[in-house]
């Protein structure tokens, strides 16, 4: 019988299936961060050990200070970082801690180190674990009770999701990126458009994406309700993985590649749900509301809630109220107070390069922060001189971590302030209490910085050419 990528990955990790349909899945990689403290506490309560410390990796990211790391002023933050150190060292888990030169956001660091490989099952107590699916891995976010379960047993209990394929056909226009594909489909299908499903992205527009782009796309799957986002491994994947510190070498590499080549969905495999998108129709997209589905092409206007169906009208009204926007207002007229370029969605080297193409030789009209996804991304960017492009434009170049994506480390947007952000969630208060977030791609963040308002990055690209 023909099988999808999801079927193959699921079958390869299923230890057993209960009569009620619950699968017990083996976990190849378990990534923990500061927020995993609840799970370690559960383990301690029961006096249990970590089943496979060698398959468990710790990363400091959510609370990582992006500025002064030698003296952490907030005792609550210091405590979170300390707890991670204590828990990982007690259980013999390798930690990429605050002062490790490889430190970064878990979903940036994993792929960078070659911890993320095709065919693996990967869990982390973080909803954006879907990012790792870009390699053709079975990767999904879990809650603290499940984290404790993985720690104790190296397995996770899960119901197999339904399969969904999003086919993106054709070629993306200039200035349009993976972020726009994601915001586009979520705007069309809604934030629960893929709930209960594992999304496989396919089509020539996806094949043409770099690994960075695929990671951005898979990362955002959860914003459309899908716990899993996946792309079948191909030559692009292998080229990225080869030579990474934890990737197989020599004969093991050849053997692994043979296994990975068999992963893509069979040509005649069928999906429970299928959606086709014409890449040429996707414009640079920005959010105007407080959920990622409240998004529109930058060339458009803030929608009129009265024109939206049923429950969406009320949600839009309340979102516009929170965001301080009026129906009918052209999106390009919306003035911003600051920008943020960072997060596990868009802070890889390619994202920084893209933003730099707009900022090079220009000044930002508003303040902003650039936080690379890892300290290695930071080093690579500095080697290319990207840091100077950002600082000469007037933006602040800081260390790696979740930073202003979630504000846990103290990097926040002040109440009522409007931020053009390369992150993944524009929820109320996500970037700080009362903060107003507009999600967009890195080039769009850069363009907004230059003009001080939401801007079609393509205009600045043309002006330069």
């Amino acid at each position: 019988m023909s099988r999808t990528l999801l079927d193959k990955l699921w079958d390869a990790h299923e230890v057993r299936r209960d009569p009620d349909g619950t699968s017990l899945l083996w976990v190849d990689r378990h990534l923990v961060h500061e927020g995993s403290h609840h799970a370690f506490a559960k383990l301690a309560e029961r006096g249990l050990d970590v089943a496979e410390p060698g398959l468990t990796f710790g990363v400091a990211d959510h609370y990582a200070p992006t500025r002064r790391r030698d003296r952490i002023e907030d005792p609550a933050i210091a405590k979170m970082l300390e707890r991670l150190e204590t828990n990982t060292s007690r259980h013999g888990i390798r930690l990429f801690g605050l002062n490790d030169p490889r430190q970064g956001i878990v979903h940036v660091l994993g792929p960078e180190q070659g911890l993320t490989l095709p065919g693996l099952s990967i869990n982390c107590g973080d909803s954006h674990t879907s990012t790792h699916g870009a390699f053709g891995a079975l990767a999904f976010g879990i809650g603290a009770t499940e984290v404790a379960h993985v720690l104790a047993t190296q397995t996770v209990r899960a119901q197999k999701p339904k399969s969904m394929r999003i086919l993106v056909k054709g070629a993306l226009g200039a200035g349009v990126s993976a972020k726009d594909i994601a915001l586009h489909w979520i705007a069309e299908l809604g934030t629960s458009g893929a709930t209960g499903h594992a999304v496989e992205y396919a089509g020539d527009a996806i094949e043409a994406l770099s690994m960075e782009g695929r990671m951005t796309l898979c990362n955002l799957s959860i914003e459309g309700g899908a716990r899993f986002g996946m792309v079948a491994p191909d030559d692009t994947t292998l080229a990225y993985v080869k030579g990474r510190p934890f990737a197989p070498k020599g004969a093991a590499w050849d053997r692994a590649v043979a296994a990975w080549r068999a992963l893509p969905s069979d040509p005649d495999a069928t999906f429970d749900k299928e959606v086709t998108i014409d890449a040429a129709r996707i414009a640079p997209t920005v959010t105007w509301g407080t959920t990622p589905e409240q998004a529109a092409p930058i060339t458009g206007t803030v929608p009129d809630p009265d024109a939206l169906p049923g429950g969406k009208a009320e949600a839009a009204r309340s979102a516009l109220d929170y965001m301080g926007l009026t129906a009918g207002q052209p999106l390009q007229d919306v003035a911003i107070d600051q920008v943020f370029l960072g997060s596990c969605t868009n802070a890889r080297i390619e994202d920084l390069r893209a933003a730099a193409t707009i900022l090079r030789g220009r000044r930002a009209r508003v303040p902003g922060v650039v936080s690379p996804g890892s300290m290695l991304v930071r080093a690579a960017a500095e080697a290319e001189g990207l840091d100077r492009v950002f600082t000469e434009a007037g933006l602040e170049w800081v260390g790696a971590g979740c930073s202003m994506c979630v504000g846990m480390n103290g990097d926040i947007v002040a109440p009522g302030k409007r931020c053009a952000s390369s992150t993944n969630r524009n929820f109320r208060g996500r970037q700080g209490k009362g903060a107003r977030t507009h999600l967009m791609s890195p080039v769009m963040v850069a363009a907004a910085a230059v003009t001080g308002r939401l801007t079609d990055a393509r205009e600045l690209m043309e002006a330069k050419a």
């Binding site: 230890v15 057993r16 009620d20 349909g21 017990l24 083996w26 190849d28 609840h38 506490a41 249990l48 398959l55 609550a76 405590k79 979170m80 030169p101 490889r102 960078e112 180190q113 693996l120 107590g125 973080d126 909803s127 879990i142 809650g143 603290a144 009770t145 499940e146 379960h149 104790a152 047993t153 397995t155 934030t191 629960s192 709930t195 309700g225 716990r227 030579g243 510190p245 934890f246 990737a247 070498k249 093991a252 590499w253 053997r255 692994a256 296994a259 959920t291 429950g311 009320e314 949600a315 080297i349 890892s374 991304v377 080093a379 690579a380 846990m408 969630r425 208060g429 996500r430 209490k433």
Partner: protein
């Protein structure tokens, strides 16, 4: 954790869709220890400055009726802790985000998917009503009306027995060990050790 099969309590409506985890508990409270109770942080920012917030107007309510896609966003189980510690036993909504629903069931909180929850929410308005939830029949009775919600068998079993997954799984340690050996033989690179060289970010 103790299981439950019938719950009687007061229901209130939270007339919003897409209630995300950042609204349920803002990130800044997440470094707190669970021992201190997470109930005080529930909906912290929504409640502030809103005298009429449903859970403040009707103290002691234990059933929350809300709009579609409840619990979307982060995997933070703290969102469930905040609801549970504030005394909430069940959330009734047309749909739930997958990770939130799983976390809820793991903590004895019922995520009851009810297609006409939004109609119920509108009917209730700013009032409270006595509600009865029966997990066996998957019914919610409110204002004399019965509504059947969707409740997968797995969830019913877990909620009524207060099952702990770790115990359930530890009964299969032999199968897990055998699987591990096979995995090790077929995909030894899963356990691969790190190369000395450091990665580049390129």
């Amino acid at each position: 954790m103790a299981g439950w099969s019938v719950h009687e309590g007061r229901a209130v409506a939270l007339p919003r869709r897409d209630v995300d985890t950042d609204q349920i508990i803002p990130a800044r409270f997440m470094s707190a220890s669970r021992a201190d109770g997470y109930g005080q942080y529930l909906f912290a920012d929504l409640r502030e400055g809103d005298d009429g917030f449903p859970l403040d107007r009707h103290r002691g309510a234990s059933v929350l009726i809300a709009g579609a896609n409840f619990g979307c966003g982060s995997s933070r189980e703290a969102a469930v802790y905040a609801l549970v510690d504030a005394g909430i036993r069940a959330v009734i909504a047309p749909s739930f985000a997958d990770i939130f629903a799983g976390n809820a069931v793991n903590n004895g909180l019922l995520p009851a998917a009810l297609p006409d929850a939004e109609a119920l929410m509108d009917e209730l308005g700013a009032n409270a009503a006595e509600a009865r939830i029966d997990l066996e029949t998957a019914t919610l009775t409110i204002a004399g009306q019965s509504h059947e919600f969707r409740l997968p068998d797995v969830w019913r079993h877990k909620l009524t027995n207060g099952w702990d997954d770790i115990d359930l799984t530890r009964a299969h340690l032999d199968e897990i060990a055998a699987f591990r050996d096979a995995r090790h033989a077929n995909a030894p690179w899963v356990w691969a050790e790190q190369d000395d060289e450091q990665a580049t970010a390129g």
